[in-house]
C-alpha cells in the first residue's frame, strides 16, 4: 500500500466518517442548532469527497505560473475544485436560511427541541 493509497483511503475514509457523524447528529440530536451543525458536517464530508476525486499522485495546483505551462500532466483535476466552490457557497446559503428559520422557530415556539416542534403532522 503506497502513500497514494493511504492518502486516498484517508481522504475518502475521513469524508465518509464526516458524513456519518453529520447524519448521526441530524438523526439523534434534539437541538435544531445541532441538527444544522450536523447538516454542515455532512456537507463538509461531501466537499472533501468531491475534492478527493480530483486528486492524482504528486499533483500540483491547477494554476499556471510563468514557466509551468508544461506541468499540465501533473496538475490535479480543476473541475472538482470549481464544483466544490459552488457547493460550499450553496451550502452556506442553505445554512444561513436554516439559521434564520431556527430564529423564527425559537421566536414562535420558545424552544429549540425538534420533537417539540410538530404542530404540523399527519
Amino acid at each position: 500500500m503506497d502513500t497514494t493509497e493511504l492518502i486516498r483511503i484517508g481522504v475518502y475514509g475521513t469524508s465518509i466518517l464526516l458524513i456519518l457523524i453529520g447524519l448521526y447528529a441530524v438523526l439523534t440530536k434534539r437541538s435544531l442548532i445541532k441538527i444544522i451543525i450536523g447538516l454542515s458536517i455532512i456537507d463538509g464530508g461531501i466537499h472533501l469527497l468531491l475534492i478527493g476525486i480530483g486528486y492524482i499522485k504528486d499533483g500540483t495546483a491547477p494554476i499556471f505560473s510563468p514557466g509551468s505551462e508544461n506541468a499540465v500532466a501533473r496538475m490535479v483535476d480543476p473541475v472538482p475544485q470549481a464544483l466544490v466552490l459552488t457547493a460550499i457557497v450553496i451550502g452556506f446559503g442553505v445554512t444561513a436560511v436554516a439559521l434564520s428559520l431556527v430564529i423564527r422557530l425559537y421566536r414562535h415556539h420558545n424552544t429549540l427541541k425538534i420533537d417539540e416542534i410538530k404542530n404540523l403532522k399527519w
Binding site: 447524519l23 438523526l27 439523534t28 425538534i114 403532522k121
Partner: protein
Amino acid sequence: METILTIFIIFIAGATGTYFLGKLSGILRSVIFITTLLVTSWLFFTAVSPDVIIEFEIMGILMSWGLTPLAYVFAIIVFGLAIIIGIYAIKAMEGQRSLNFFFANFLLSVMAMFGILISNDLISFFIFWEIMSWSSYFMVVLNHKDVQRSGITYIIFCVIGAYAMMMAIMIIYSYSGSVMIGDFISNFHAFSLGMKWLLPILLLIGFASKAALMPLHVWAPGAYSNSPMSYTALFSGALSKMGVYGMVIVMIMIVQQIPDGYWIKEVIAWLGGITSAIGTLWAIKQDDAKRMLAYSSVAQLGYIIVGVAIGTPLAMMSGLFLAVMHGIFKSTLFMVVGAIERQTGTSNFTEVTGLIRKMPWTFLAALMSIIALAGIPPLGGFIGKWMLYESLMGSNHYLLIIVIFFSSTAAFLYCYKFLFGFFLGQEEKEWSHVKEAPAMMVVPMIIMAILTFVLGVFPGLILKPINDGMQFLGYVSTDNRFWEMSTIFNDWGNQVVMEPIVYTIFAIFLFFLIFLTLKGYKNTRYVTTKDISSSGEIPREDENLTFITGFMQPFFRAVAPVMKRQIDKYYTSFGKGLEALFDFTRRIYTGNGQTYALYFVIFVILLLMFRDSLF
C-alpha cells in the same frame, strides 16, 4: 348538421340557458327548459334514424355515434319520461332551492342518457356514463339532506362501477385496438380465456352498480329518497335503465360467446332474484314513502335483471318490457310522493293519512301505478311479470321462479301500505287543509297512469320496438312468436289474450259498480271515517284511530331471520375499518423533521440493499 349533434347542442345550450337566464326569471327558465326537452324529443322521434352514424377521432381512438334499434327502446323511455317529468317538475319544484341548477342539471342528465344510448363505442359510452353519474350525484345531494352519507355512498358505488367498466374498456382497447362495441363483440373470441371471464364480469359490475344489483345496491335507498322527487322519478325510471341497457348488450352479445358463460348468467339471474326478494322485504319495512319506493325500485330492477340475465328471447323481452313499465309506474309513484310531499310537507306514512278525498286524482294515478307495480292484470305490469314467469319456466329455473314469486307476492304488502298509508285510513283534521296538487303536476301523473293501462291492453305497442331491437342484435328470429298487438305467447305456445279479458273485466266492474251505486242511490250518503263501528264504540272526533305504525309486524316476525343481516352494515363497518386503518397509516407523517430524516436514511439503505431486485 347531423341531428344527433344538433340534439347535443340544443341540450347544452338549453342547460346553459336554463342556468343563466333562469337567474333572470323563473318563467323564462321553465320555458327554456320545456322547450329544450320538447325540441330535442321532437328531433329525436322524427329525425334520428338508425342508419346515420357519425364517426370522429379523439386521441387516435375512433369513435362513433349512431342509434341502434335496441337503444331506441331505451331512448323512448328516456325522452318520454323526461318530457312528462319535466312538465311535472316545473310546478313541483316551485319554491325549492337551487332551481336553476336543478333544471340545468336535469337537462344534462337527459343529455348524458341520450349520449349513452347513441354511443357506438365504449369510450363515449363511458364519458356519457360518467356525466350521468356526476350530474345525478349533484341531484342526490341537492336537498342538503344526509349529504355526507347517502351522497358519498352513491358516488362510491358510481365510481366502483365506472372504474370496473373503465378497466374493461381499456383492456379491450389495448388488446384489440378498437373501442367499437361492434368490434369488441366480433373480436371477443380472440381474447384469452381469462380475459373472456374478466371482461364481462368487469362490465357487469359497472352496469350492475347503476342498476342496483344486490351487493351493489346499498346506495339506492339513500340516493333515491334524498334527491328531489321530480328527479328521482327520472333517476329510478330512466337512469337506472342505463345499467340494464348495458347489461342487455353484455348478456346478449358477450356472455353467449364465453365457454361455460352460462354460469355468469345464472349467477346474475340469482343475484337479481335475491335483490328483488331483499328489496321487497326492506321496502315493506320502511315508514317513509321515498325509501319504500327506493327499495321497491331495487326490487323491481331485480326482476328486470333476472329477465335480462336468463337471456332466452322471451326472458329478454320480458326484462325490456318490465324496464319500460317500471319506468312508467315507478316514475308516477315518485311523482305522487312528490306531490304529496309538496302538499303536506311530509312523505312519512305515519304522519299523513286519508288524503283520498283531498287528492283524488293523485290517488287515481297512485292506484293505477300500484296495480301495475303489483303486476295485477289488466295493467301493463302484468304483461312483463307474465312473460318473466313464462320465460323462467321455459328455461327450467325451478327455484328462481319461486324466489321471484315470493317477492312479487310480498310486494302486495308494501303496495297496500303505500295506498293505505297516504290515501286511506282515518281522515285526520290535521290534514283537512290539504288541496289537490296543481294541474301541471296531476296531468303528467294521469297521463302516465293511462299509459300503464294502454300498455296493458296493447303490449304490442312497446313489444314491437323491443322486438326490432332484438332482431337487430340477431337475437330473435323475424317471426314474432311471442307477441301480437294484444296477445302474448310463452315458449310453449300458451297465450294470454288481453283484449277480451280487459273488456270482460270492465264490464263486470262497471256492472257491479252501477249496481252498488244505483241500489238505494237516494238514501246512500257519505259519512266521515270517524263514523264507524269500532267494536261498538263511536270514536270521538279527536281520537286518532289510524293504524299504520308497525304495519306489517306479524309478517316481520315471520321473516325476522332474513332481515337480521343487512348488507349496508357490512359495508359501513368495512368503510369505517378502512378509514381507521388509513388514519393509522398516515401517522407515518409524524410531524417530526428528524423522523423524516430517518426515513431518508432508511430509504437509502433499503434501496442499497435491494438494488438487485429493484433495478
